[in-house]
């Protein structure tokens, strides 16, 4: 039983990363109809940035947790203005390709400076050790990551439902033309929302630095799993993306343990779930059917 709870906890922690990345993707997609291939690269930049801040400037984890999302958010806004914006009126596939090109560039830039070896990043001292939550000991840092990620997701949810910006974003997500027709300047929010989504990816990266291998390729494979996650949840649905993120984290964690004899199966569970969802509800668990194309 304790074993099961432990795997469940680990699954939720891994799911927290999927959820944060899926949330950023979903917010950006809702506002811009852009699927950001470079999302994983920004996650990687968040982790690498935390390392560079610590190693070269002695900036501790807590400051990195603030600085990197802001820096990457600003970088994201600049990218939106410089590139993404130019392709906004075209088929979304062009922006998918553009961000794919950006991935190759960003990965190689980091690789040329820091190599491909994984870099260790120490857990901040205040979050070392473990906490006893009654049943067994949890590593403090993982508990923190889970709590922090859930808090972020709830905060974003609250902002979307209770603030004026959130209302505009939701309205523009559901009915872009109608929102404009009501005289709301949707375009004004496009750049900040893109930056915000990127900042979330950077935040996830900083959180990942102390518990995952930090290297230039860390975001590349992850983002493809996150794509599967948002197909499962339904990219148009912000709640669906987050829920699917945690759900896939759980399923993977259980799969690794209970399907240990079938490594091929346990490694590919997320894609099998995606196949099942495509059969059963092609629009995703929480998505709406697209207008017939």
């Amino acid at each position: 039983m304790t074993g099961f709870l432990q795997h469940t906890f680990d699954g939720l922690v891994n799911g927290a990363f999927y959820a944060l990345l899926a949330l950023g993707l979903a917010v950006i997609f809702g506002m811009l109809r852009v699927v950001n291939f470079a999302h994983g690269a920004f996650y990687m930049l968040g982790a690498m940035g935390a390392y560079v801040l610590l190693a070269e400037f002695g900036v501790p984890f807590w400051w990195a947790l603030v600085i990197m999302p802001v820096v990457l958010g600003v970088l994201g806004m600049a990218l939106e203005r410089a590139f993404v914006h130019r392709l906004a009126r075209l088929d979304p596939l062009y922006n998918f390709l553009l961000t794919f090109g950006l991935v190759l560039i960003l990965q190689d830039l980091v690789k040329s400076r820091y190599g491909v070896q994984s870099i260790p990043y120490a857990t901040p001292e205040s979050l070392g050790g473990s906490v006893d939550l009654g049943i067994f000991d949890f590593p403090t840092y993982r508990v923190f990551v889970l709590g922090f990620a859930v808090a972020i997701c709830v905060a974003v949810w609250w902002a979307l439902t209770h603030s004026r910006v959130g209302m505009v974003v939701r309205a523009a997500t559901e009915r872009p033309e109608l929102t404009r027709a009501f005289g709301i300047n949707v375009g004004r929010w496009v750049t900040p929302v893109f930056g915000f989504g990127i900042a979330l990816a950077g935040l996830a990266g900083v959180l990942a630095a102390p518990m995952r291998a930090v290297n230039p390729l860390m975001g590349a494979d992850l983002i493809i799993v996150v794509f599967a996650v948002v197909v499962i949840g339904g990219l148009g649905s912000i709640f669906g993306s987050v829920a699917a993120g945690f759900g896939i984290g759980l399923i993977q964690a259980w799969g690794v343990v209970y399907l240990a004899d079938w490594p091929i199966l346990s490694q590919t569970l997320v894609f099998i779930v995606m196949a099942a969802v495509l059969l059963w509800r092609p629009a995703g668990l929480f998505g709406r059917e697209e207008a017939p194309a």
Partner: protein, 341 residues
């Protein structure tokens, strides 16, 4: 998704109803001249380049054409063609190593295998369109990548397949130069097949589905089945390229299934011109040549250069090489037409 996007002229990927049609409308002697020139270049290629690079160009040309068959002529952007390219490379390699099959038969085995796995993947993927189709195909390709990585007893895992023999009725094909000429007929057959598909009644229906799926459905065409057929045919062509690639290198590694291969295949098509078929061949030749030149000159950040080219191509050069050429010729003709009036 939104009609505003689609009403933008030239906004959809695809030749904006021009590329292919324009080429077909070109006078017969222009078409034959292009064909003869193309064949001449294909025959001359290994004399002007390293034969190994020339073989790679053949393989990538097949991959590009297979991607364009979907992207340019069916309106589906597959971001997972590494699955078919790579599966075929592995299958062809295994067929040659374990069964000692002659290399064209091994390549054909690989391509058929690619078509077989394309059936379930395509069946699921065509349920979605647009950007979702890209994400779904990408995810399934990654699944195949994981399977190949974990299934080391068959694929050799991280080591890959080594020393793939290429055998054909006792001919000595160990020299890349001669292998190129042995591989050329297979590649040309594949390219011809793609051209034939695009210019068949079936291909016209595909273009109809690309331009207006709702109308195609209303006219009674089973849209999903047409898309699935196109997907499987495309996977077969990609498989021909992948199988030849395995034979050319006599080595198969996990790289053939990596998502960067899928992405590069799409970008090569954009570079050459979406919906132009032959543009993809040019794009493939350029990319292979460039990557070879970069690695030969000891430059390690190949992704930096290719990535920059991709970004610039998407931002500034969306018609691609072939599309731009057709456009220039058309403009020149229009101007001449005016002065003659």
């Amino acid at each position: 998704m939104t009609t505003a996007v689609e009403s933008e002229p030239g906004a959809k990927p695809g030749p904006a109803r021009s590329g292919l049609v324009a080429v077909s409308r070109a006078p017969w002697w222009v078409r034959y001249a292009l064909l003869v020139a193309g064949l001449a270049v294909a025959l001359w290629l290994p004399n002007g380049l390293y034969p190994a690079v020339a073989v790679d160009i053949l393989c990538w040309a097949l991959l590009a054409v297979s991607v364009d068959l979907l992207l340019g002529f069916t309106g589906l952007m597959s971001f997972g063609h590494a699955a078919f390219w790579g599966t075929s490379a592995y299958l062809a390699g295994i067929a040659a190593i374990k069964a000692g099959l002659p290399f064209p038969v091994a390549v054909l085995t690989g391509a058929l295998g690619a078509a077989v796995i394309a059936l379930p993947i395509g069946y699921l993927a065509v349920k979605r369109t647009g950007i979702y189709f890209a994400m779904v195909t990408l995810a399934f390709a990654q699944m195949i990548y994981y399977v190949a990585n974990k299934w080391g007893s068959v694929t050799g895992g991280e080591n890959g397949l080594q020393a793939v023999p290429r055998e054909l009725g006792g001919l000595d094909l160990s020299d890349e130069y001669y292998f190129y000429y042995a591989a050329l007929p297979i590649a040309l057959l594949g390219l011809w097949a793609a051209w034939r598909i695009v210019n068949s009644p079936f291909g016209r229906v595909l273009v109809g589905i690309r331009d207006n799926p709702a109308r195609a459905r209303a006219l009674g065409y089973p849209v999903h089945r047409y898309k699935l057929t196109a997907f499987v045919l495309s996977a077969f062509l990609a498989g021909l390229g992948g199988g030849l690639f395995a034979m050319g290198h006599q080595f198969v590694s996990l790289d053939v299934l990596h998502w960067t291969t899928s992405g590069k295949a799409v970008i090569v098509v954009v570079l050459g011109g979406i919906g132009t078929l032959w543009g993809g061949v040019l794009g493939a030749a350029l990319l292979v040549r460039l990557e070879d030149w970069l690695s030969f000159s000891g430059f390690e950040q190949i992704g930096l250069v290719t990535g920059t080219i991709f970004v610039l191509a998407v931002l500034l050069f969306r018609r691609g090489i072939w599309g731009t050429a057709v456009d220039l010729v058309r403009r020149w003709q229009a101007r001449r037409g005016r002065t003659e009036d």
